[in-house]
């Protein structure tokens, strides 16, 4: 079976670059999976989890939005941020959430600023739910 060469890059570093069987990504209009020989495809990614499936194993990456480009069995995923337990702790995430919540109170609702701050808040809430799930 054909493999997909998948690489995930952020402005800071290359997160992953490997041969996989399937890529599952959170598109803005719903989660989708890509198998090898899929047609060329570009999508905007939402806050969510990218899953790379290969040889009975899977890698998960929590991302804060980005783009996915697929062509000729090569998937390039450009992310703004990728959260792992190495680069963010639970305390930091909680701190960010409270900081953003206080900022949100200052902004007026229904402005572009409000929406972008609200999106930030959603992102960190997602991180805390997924990454630190079950940690009490």
């Amino acid at each position: 079976m054909d493999k997909i060469h998948c690489s995930i890059v952020t402005p800071e570093r290359i997160i992953a670059s490997k041969e996989v069987d399937q890529v599952i990504a959170p598109g803005v209009s719903g989660e989708f999976g890509i198998l090898a020989n899929h047609m060329p495809f570009i999508s905007i990614l939402d806050i969510g989890t990218i899953k790379l499936l290969y040889e009975n194993a899977q890698d998960k990456y929590v991302i804060g939005g980005g783009y996915l480009e697929f062509d000729n069995n090569t998937a390039n995923i450009l992310c703004d941020e990728v959260f792992t337990k190495d680069n963010i702790t639970k305390e930091e995430t909680l701190k960010m959430i409270s900081k953003i919540e206080s900022r949100l109170k200052e902004e007026k609702p229904n402005t572009p600023e409000y929406t972008s701050v609200y999106k930030e808040l959603e992102k960190y809430k997602y991180v805390i739910n997924i990454l630190f799930e079950g940690e009490k």
Binding site: S7, V9, T10, P11, E12, R13, I14, G27, V28, S29, F32, M39, P40, F41, I42, S43, I44, Y67, E69, D71, N76, L78
Partner: protein, 289 residues
């Protein structure tokens, strides 16, 4: 001939200067390591991004998106990225030269030019020359570059571009090639266009977009414009520290050479004084005989 005390004083003062240049070199080296790392890590990201944008722009007809749309160029904006501080060799000078070339080039085509400057040194120069600066930012490139700053500056330029006050936007910055070389680069960011390359034209005909082509284009192109400026920030910052490190190393070496020469001079003067004294003593003894 200066007295030996004067020379001694001079040696001391040069030794102190050398200490400072040496310390500055160390500081620049330490900072360089950090920013170089960031700049290098960013390259794969912007590279991949550029690839996608290139394909997209090749397939999309320019009138489909306001960022791709080519107009008759009447006004252009130049964003000059350089450093706040001096003592870094030809770093700022190269940028100034490149900018002036670009300005005279555009002016000869009857294009009015407005300049936005990031970095105090270049601003000082243009201010001295009496050239009008549209916007001036300082204190942004300090130790590290922030994406928010790039976004803020670019937003102003984008606004003017969309309101058709400017028809082209350029960035002039130093690209970090290696420790010894920083190359001044002129990059056209708006409208987004690439050199024609044959053979790949058909590629994106077959692409499907999600959620829709317009939204994808809109988002990615905007992001790309921000990223271009951020990229130039990173490169410029790494270049600045590399240039400063090199300049300070040269200064330290020059100070060393100077101290060596002056020490030799000092010793000669000292010896001359001793000889003179000896001669005086021997002649007076001779005279007393």
């Amino acid at each position: 001939m200066p007295s030996s005390r004067d020379i001694k004083r001079k040696i001391n003062s040069i030794a102190k200067t050398q200490q400072i240049t040496k310390a500055m070199k160390m500081v620049a080296a330490a900072k360089l390591r950090k920013v170089q790392h960031t700049a290098m890590q960013f390259r794969p990201y912007i590279g991949k991004f550029e690839e996608i944008i290139k394909y997209l722009s090749e397939y999309t007809p320019p009138q489909d998106n306001k960022f791709l749309f080519l107009r008759d160029v009447k006004a252009a904006e130049i964003i000059v990225v350089a450093s706040d501080k001096g003592l870094c060799g030809g770093f700022n000078h190269n940028i100034i030269k490149e900018t002036e070339n670009l300005v005279s080039n555009l002016s000869s085509k009857n294009i009015s030019v407005s300049i936005t400057v990031v970095g105090k040194k270049v601003y000082d120069y243009f201010h001295f020359k009496g050239i009008q600066i549209k916007h001036f930012y300082t204190g942004i490139l300090k130790n590290e570059a922030h994406f928010v700053d790039a976004k803020k500056i670019m937003n102003v330029a984008i606004k003017d571009f969309l309101e058709e006050k400017t028809d082209e936007v350029y960035i002039v910055y130093n690209k970090f090639v290696n420790m010894l070389i920083q190359r001044p680069i002129v990059k056209k960011v708006l409208p987004i266009s690439f050199e024609e390359e044959n053979g790949q034209k058909q590629k994106y005909e077959k692409f499907t977009f999600e959620p829709s082509k317009e939204i994808v284009l809109e988002e990615m192109l905007l992001k790309y414009v921000y990223m271009s400026l951020y990229d130039s920030f990173l490169e410029s910052l790494a270049g600045e520290y590399a240039a400063r490190m090199l300049a300070m190393e040269a200064a330290t070496k020059n100070a060393q050479d100077m101290i060596k020469k002056l020490t030799l001079f000092y010793n000669k003067a000292r010896q001359a004084a001793i000889t003179k004294e000896l001669i005086e003593i021997t002649t007076s003894i001779e005279a007393m005989k």
